[in-house]
């Protein structure tokens, strides 16, 4: 039983995390382990400074908390602090994975699943170094605060990722494919999907041609569009970047037109997948937040600190990668809403352009970049040859204004490798997605 003291705000977040990794390289077992860790992150706020501690010894949380209290200064008016007044004090238990926890699946069953896919990676002689990995994570979180919050919830992801170094003569390519889910059963019966991905990538190795650099119409797949939304606008919606410069609130005034009128971008912790966060790491309940609605700046993402500073509502976006770090403003699942076209009608008007099917990575500041993996020409409204593109770049706001077509259907994606990096906290699981998106002009290198 934790005793909180008057004169301070305090909270304690704990995580019991189980992670399994099994990997094979060239058919040989490289790694097989399950790691179970318990950690806690404690915060005390006295109205002036936050004091944090990260510990692995969960038996002595009271002593650690007392140490933080000793460093801080009691503040009789702490309950009137604008930040403290904003904290939610939810009491809830959300157990989504109790009956399907990956903790309950024997290691050898996970290994057998991965082994069953390995033969698919060695069917073509150009594949010279096939690698495959099984990953899963199940976490049990608890959150308690001096305001009475008492929340327990769980989180789960699992997935299979494949990579294949390919070489044939002077031609070289590194192919990738992965499937993420939240239940072990999501990862079964993937033979056809893997076989198709490998065949497409070996064909890319053999047939792809260098791109002619220039400005072209570009069609982004849901994967590329989701990463574009995350990188180009999602990070700009993280409102901690507005705290240091008071002029930012004018620059980023809600209601301003920032994009094409057909574009709406959403962030929500309620979407099943790796960005599912029913409560954030400050105990705030998840909700659907429009960042852009019909081209208009509609909202931004908040921690309690940023919501108080900007006098806006909480959004459920205070997240930390684990109990080593304090929560900061992060995305959950970010996606573009669908439009009214199908894929054929989307590419039909394009005389010469490119379709970006899969990507290696993306980043975004005033300019954004996307590094494509698989890309194709679009000639006279039809898909053509595979092409090698190093990067797509452009001004974020110019490009948001150049979106002129969206397909109806939205695809949500969850990946189990990589993740979002922000300063010292790298690899946060986030979801993303969208429809197929047409941009009338992008710089293709």
């Amino acid at each position: 039983m934790i005793t909180f003291r008057d004169g301070f705000y305090a909270d304690i977040r704990t995580e019991d995390r189980s992670r399994t990794i099994i990997s094979y390289k060239a058919g040989i077992l490289e790694e097989m382990r399950t790691r179970v860790e318990q950690q806690a992150f404690l915060r005390v706020y006295d109205g002036r400074l936050w004091y944090y501690a990260s510990v692995t010894d969960l038996k002595h949380l009271q002593e650690t908390l007392n140490g933080l209290y000793a460093a801080a200064t009691a503040n009789p008016a702490i309950q009137e602090d604008p930040m403290v007044k904003r904290f939610e004090a939810n009491r809830d238990t959300v157990r989504s994975f109790e009956t399907c926890s990956v903790r309950d699946i024997p290691l050898n069953k996970k290994q057998d699943l991965l082994l069953s896919y390995l033969p698919l990676l060695s069917g073509d002689p150009c594949i010279t170094m096939p690698q495959a990995v099984y990953l899963d994570r199940n976490s049990r979180f608890s959150f308690r605060s001096s305001l009475g919050a008492d929340i327990s919830y769980d989180y789960q992801t699992c997935g299979i990722a494949v990579s294949c170094d390919m070489a044939e003569g002077e031609k070289k390519f590194s192919g990738h494919w992965q499937k993420g889910g939240t239940r072990f059963d999501d990862l079964t019966n993937l033979e056809e999907e893997i076989r198709g991905a490998i065949a497409e990538q070996t064909s890319f190795l053999r047939q792809s041609v260098p791109v002619e650099p220039g400005k072209y119409p570009v069609v982004l797949s849901p994967e590329a569009a989701g990463v574009f939304a995350h990188e180009s606008f999602g990070h700009k919606s993280e409102s901690d970047f507005m705290l240091s410069d008071e002029s930012m609130k004018n620059e980023w005034e809600l209601g301003k037109t920032v994009a094409s009128p057909i574009l709406s971008i959403v962030d929500s912790g309620e979407i099943p997948g790796c960005g599912f966060v029913p409560y954030d790491d400050e105990g705030t309940r998840a909700r659907k937040n429009y960042l852009i609605k019909n081209g208009i700046l509609a909202g931004r993402l908040h921690s309690t600190q940023t919501a108080a500073a900007l006098d806006e509502g909480l959004t459920g976006n205070a997240r930390a990668i684990d109990c080593t770090f304090e929560p900061i403003v992060r995305m959950t699942t970010t996606y573009i809403e669908g439009g009214d076209l199908d894929f054929d009608r989307l590419i039909a008007p394009i005389k010469k352009g490119y379709f970006i099917k899969t990507i290696k990575h993306g980043s975004g500041m005033s300019t954004f970049t996307i590094a494509p993996s698989l890309a194709y020409e679009i000639i006279d409204g039809k898909l053509g040859r595979p092409v090698q593109i190093s990067v797509l770049t452009g001004s974020v706001f110019e490009t948001l204004g150049l979106i002129d077509g969206l397909t109806k259907d939205v695809v949500m994606l969850s990946f189990v490798t990589g993740g979002c990096g922000k300063m010292e906290q790298m690899g946060l699981p986030v979801g993303f997605g969208g429809p197929y998106v047409r941009v009338s002009s992008m710089n293709v290198q």
């Binding site: 390289k25 040989i28 077992l29 490289e30 790694e31 097989m32 382990r33 950690q39 400074l49 936050w50 004091y51 944090y52 501690a53 990260s54 510990v55 692995t56 010894d57 460093a71 010279t128 170094m129 170094d165 390919m166 070489a167 031609k171 070289k172 590194s174 190795l205 260098p210 990070h235 700009k236 901690d240 970047f241 705290l243 240091s244 410069d245 008071e246 002029s247 930012m248 980023w252 080593t324 304090e326 290696k360 990575h361 993306g362 500041m365 300019t367 954004f368 970049t369 996307i370 590094a371 090698q388 593109i389 190093s390 990067v391 770049t393 001004s395 300063m423 010292e424 710089n443 290198q445």
Partner: protein, 405 residues
């Protein structure tokens, strides 16, 4: 049965800065322990978070042998070495007052910038022991300032950075260096598209190509370097190493996760243009007949894997002015670059200075720089300089195509 024992401890104190003021204090202590055992061509690993119980970990590692993970038992022999750097850089009770005073001066000196992010003190200690009599201990310390600078009114997430890393804090030098940066930032300059010397840190120049140096990719034939080990394929001036030397890599241990060391603690990838090494573990080196590099890393409960620490270019000039007299592009922020499978590299440059005779003279507009792998490491490689413009900097220079965005 042969055995390795590893223990790592970390202690850090981190201040968060918002609007030029400290708003949080975080203290972290972390200890991990690892035991690896080898038997019948296999490895068993066990690890723990917290103070390790060697006996218990050994029993778990022996159990893990049953997984049948193949790994050669090639433990290095007797060597006892210790390199310790444990003196406090700044006493913890003094940290907030000192950094508050520094931030006040910085904000007064640079009123058009809004500063945020972290200032950090880190200490670590790594120990490696094995059943062959090897016992290595290393400890390091690092003071780092990693501040984001937003140009007030720009609307950008960040416009530039103040970065300092060292084993001491020299406030006057940090401020005087950044003043030049600040003044140049507010002097817009133009540059005609063309071919220029581009100055950047090693990762910015060559980072996209590092996977090609991994042993697995090399032997697969998919690397741009495949089949070229031992050959002179790059510029004479280019020597690229992994810096694990405590004299310059302050918080990196001088041995790798398998207890391997090289005499100068800087394992070599390229020496005078000759491809000398590839990223390997003892397993991949044995499997593929490649030389041991000595840069392996490992999770505390994991099998050793590929690692690197801090890239090092041998200096070819004493100053930026000597390296690139005349005009050059100095890349401060470049994010999102990549290369095609055949080695064409392009990256947007979000922030760069125009340099003349080694000094920043103004801020360039957003650019894209590009080049080809063979040329960037070969005929277009100009050289490298250390400790300019800041202590502990390692910058390289390469001729590249520069275009305006």
């Amino acid at each position: 049965m042969k055995k390795e024992f590893l223990k790592q401890t970390e202690h850090s104190v981190t201040l968060n800065v918002t609007a030029g003021k400290i708003d949080s204090f975080r203290e972290l202590e972390k200890t991990t322990g690892t035991v690896r055992v080898y038997d019948n061509g296999c490895i068993g690993v066990a690890g723990c978070l917290g103070e390790p119980d060697e006996e218990e970990l050994t029993a778990k590692a022996v159990e893990a042998l049953a997984f049948g993970i193949p790994y050669p038992c090639r433990l290095d022999g007797h060597l006892v070495l210790e390199d310790l750097h444990e003196e406090e850089i700044i006493k913890v009770p003094d940290f907030i007052p000192m950094m508050t005073a520094f931030l006040d001066r910085l904000c007064e000196m640079c009123p058009k910038f809004a500063f945020s992010n972290k200032i950090n003190l880190s200490y670590n200690r790594s120990e490696y022991r094995n059943s062959e009599g090897r016992h290595l201990v290393s400890s390091g310390r690092l003071f780092s300032i990693e501040l984001i600078a937003q140009n007030r009114g720009s609307g950008n997430l960040f416009d530039t950075f103040l970065v300092w890393q060292g084993n001491h804090f020299d406030e006057e030098t940090v401020l005087s260096n950044f003043k030049k940066h600040y003044d140049a930032f507010y002097t817009p300059v133009e540059l005609e598209p063309g071919r220029y010397p581009v100055i950047a840190d090693v990762s910015g120049l060559f980072g996209s190509f590092f996977p090609h140096f991994i042993g697995d990719m090399y032997v697969s034939g998919a690397s741009l370097l495949s089949g070229k080990l031992g050959q002179k394929i790059f510029s004479d001036k280019l020597s690229l190493r992994d810096d694990m030397n405590p004299s310059s890599a302050y918080i990196v241990s001088f041995f790798d996760a398998e207890g391997y060391t090289v005499p100068d603690y800087r394992p070599t990838l390229i020496e005078n243009g000759v491809l000398k090494g590839l990223f390997t573990t003892k397993k991949t080196a044995t499997q593929y007949g490649l030389p041991d590099l000595g840069t392996a890393s490992a999770a505390y409960d994991g099998v050793p894997g590929i690692g690197f620490h801090r890239f090092w270019l041998d200096p070819t000039a004493k100053s930026l002015k000597e390296l690139v007299p005349g005009k050059a592009v100095y890349v401060v922020v470049a994010s999102g670059g990549d290369a095609t499978p055949d080695g064409h590299f392009a990256t947007p440059v979000q922030m760069a200075f125009l340099m003349e005779d080694g000094q920043p003279v103004g801020r360039l507009p957003a650019l894209t720089v590009s080049g080809d792998f063979g040329d960037m490491f070969g005929a277009d490689y100009i050289g490298a300089v250390h400790n300019d413009p800041q202590e502990n900097d390692i910058l390289g220079a390469v001729y590249m195509d520069v275009e305006k965005d």
